[in-house]
Symmetry: C2
Subunit: 355 residues, 2 copies
């Protein structure tokens, strides 16, 4: 099957022109380039907007393998990771371009599954797939995705806006679930994983789902922007790493409290069974796609009410202080813990250091 036949085969008639047109698409897949109209009015956006663009890649063996991800999950998560970056700017995702480098081990039928997952994610988040390319790959599947989104002009939520006196807020799913899911999936036949899957099937499924089908926090990003959020990151590389990034970009100190971090029962149970400290996964696991931000205390109170009204999770987990840029954590057992907490390691979930 040649390249165009493949792309047509995997993408044809998944999204109507009318549906794409509402996202500004003038010309979609099939020419040298896609064409988008940046002046089309976008549902949910007021006034002139700017475009946000992110590009993120998933590599077989590094981000997934046959144990950890079904083919549909690969496509779903490749797009979800990019949507999370748009959410972290407070934006609404609009368009995606997809580059797949395909080894012989991924048959056309397997690639159809990858695209099934990708389009499932696109439909869920309203993203028009407008282009990309397909090449062969000598050995491993590589899926690179570019996503655009829109955000009200001048209001994109950067890392650099945190100010002393802000509170630190966290929105989205509890941390560490994706890391727990990875631990479970990558060694399914270990005695601990096997027993956990049999004895606590719902918890095991929740962890697997968190790893395979993460939920980018688009609505949370929009609510945070509407309520005066001043700095924002998605937690794709672990809480510690993201807190450090905000601290360094903003020139402030972030102090978080362990007791205020939301904790998943599934994750805690599996960590205990595995002999892992839950906090390790929460701080240094990756790919959770919650949002970590800072805002004025009064704005945070209003945001909390807005999140509650929509049934979305929102937590105030710390404070921003003046001082040398760093991220600290006050332990859950206050008696043992200094009031300024302990310095968090700067390490994160860094695919580049693995292989």
């Amino acid at each position: 099957m040649d390249e165009f036949a493949s792309i047509r085969h995997w993408t044809a008639e998944r999204q109507t022109e009318e549906w794409q047109r509402r996202r500004g698409v003038v010309l979609g897949i099939g020419d040298d380039a896609a064409v988008i109209d940046p002046l089309v009015s976008i549902d949910g956006l007021d006034g002139p907007y700017e475009l946000v663009m992110a590009m993120d890649t998933m590599v077989e063996t590094l981000h997934f393998n046959e144990r950890t991800m079904a083919d549909e999950d690969i496509g779903y998560k490749a797009l979800a990771a990019n949507i999370s970056d748009i959410a972290a700017m407070g934006g609404i995702p609009l368009h995606a371009l997809v580059s797949a480098s395909v080894p012989r081990s991924f048959s056309p039928e397997r690639m159809r599954q990858v695209y099934d997952g990708l389009y499932a994610c696109a439909e869920r988040y309203g993203v028009a797939v407008i282009g990309g390319d397909t090449t062969s790959s000598p050995q491993h599947l590589v899926v690179a995705v570019t996503v655009t989104g829109a955000v009200e002009a001048g209001r994109a939520l950067r890392r650099s806006g945190a100010q002393p006196g802000d509170v630190v807020v966290l929105a989205g799913q509890p941390l560490g679930m994706s890391a727990g899911g990875l631990h479970l999936l990558d060694a399914p036949d270990s005695p601990v994983s096997a027993a956990f899957s049999v004895e606590q099937p719902r918890e095991a499924a929740a962890l697997a789902r968190a790893h395979q089908r993460p939920e980018p926090s688009v609505r949370a990003g929009r609510l945070l922007l509407a309520h005066g959020c001043r700095s924002l990151n998605d937690v794709s590389d672990g809480l510690a790493s993201e807190a450090w990034e905000i601290a360094e970009a903003s020139g402030v100190r972030l102090i978080m409290r362990e007791r205020d971090l939301p904790r998943s029962g599934s994750m805690t149970a599996f960590a205990a069974a595995s002999g892992v400290k839950p906090l390790e996964w929460m701080l240094y696991g990756g790919e959770d796609y919650a949002l970590l931000g800072t805002m004025k205390p009064s704005d945070a109170a209003a945001a909390k009410a807005a999140f509650q009204a929509e049934g979305l999770p929102f937590y105030i987990i710390g404070e921003v202080q003046a001082g040398s840029p760093e991220a600290r954590l006050i332990g859950a057992d206050d008696a043992d813990s200094a009031p300024e907490g302990v310095l968090l390691a700067k390490k994160g979930y860094n695919h580049f250091d693995e292989s």
Copy 2:
């Protein structure tokens, strides 16, 4: 070196904020996503514009290896291939995002060379590099690039606009040089290649350069758009394949004349030495980045004068006829050739079928 340190290392201070700002960049590399202002006025564009977006990937062993490309060439060409897609829409390239999946064989120093080449191309074509990501790769270097550009609203040059009565035009470098260069570079120690490189060093260098540092025809695309071009493709997959694409997208027949195709002396000489028919490389070689289009004869005459005034190559190579969609070629020796020419094979230079 972690991911962000790497990206900073390879990209820091290559382009100033002021330079990027003139291309609409509000926020470049360093946050979750880049931010661009689609309302900034772009030099050379009149009135409201639309954005064009393309994504193209280069894979080690498939598109390049250590014989055919220096590290700088890899970065240069990865961006150039995408710029060519913008040129093929009549657009002005503006922004690029770059995803590199890096195996151990590419040290940080080698990757710096890759980025040196990429930024050289970016500077030459005025492209702001605004984002991307870096991951490790188990074995092969994969460089995926997304490029945006701008084109006057409603005027992007599609494949589907060819009409009976149009002439077929070709702008840019002569065809087949990149294929000749690949042939030369991939077997440098073959007796033919070695002798050619010694005896005709300038011709050998021209072929190598055509393969390693192709020149996307941005200015040509702009001139064609200004002169009423009705359909356009870049010749990235070979003349035959691109002509077929226009024919099928437009529902017309393209008839081209061999004697009107520009022919490179270097390519012809090396083809002769190699026992290859030059026409094979011209029709079915790829990555030439010339532009193939159709326009009214009177518009083509005006375009020819405009190209000549700027010293740019422009050729009228055939006609568009009503009829079943297909691409045909009238041979150089008229006596042997039927007036309707011979049907061209639909095959192209298709990386997906190789490996």
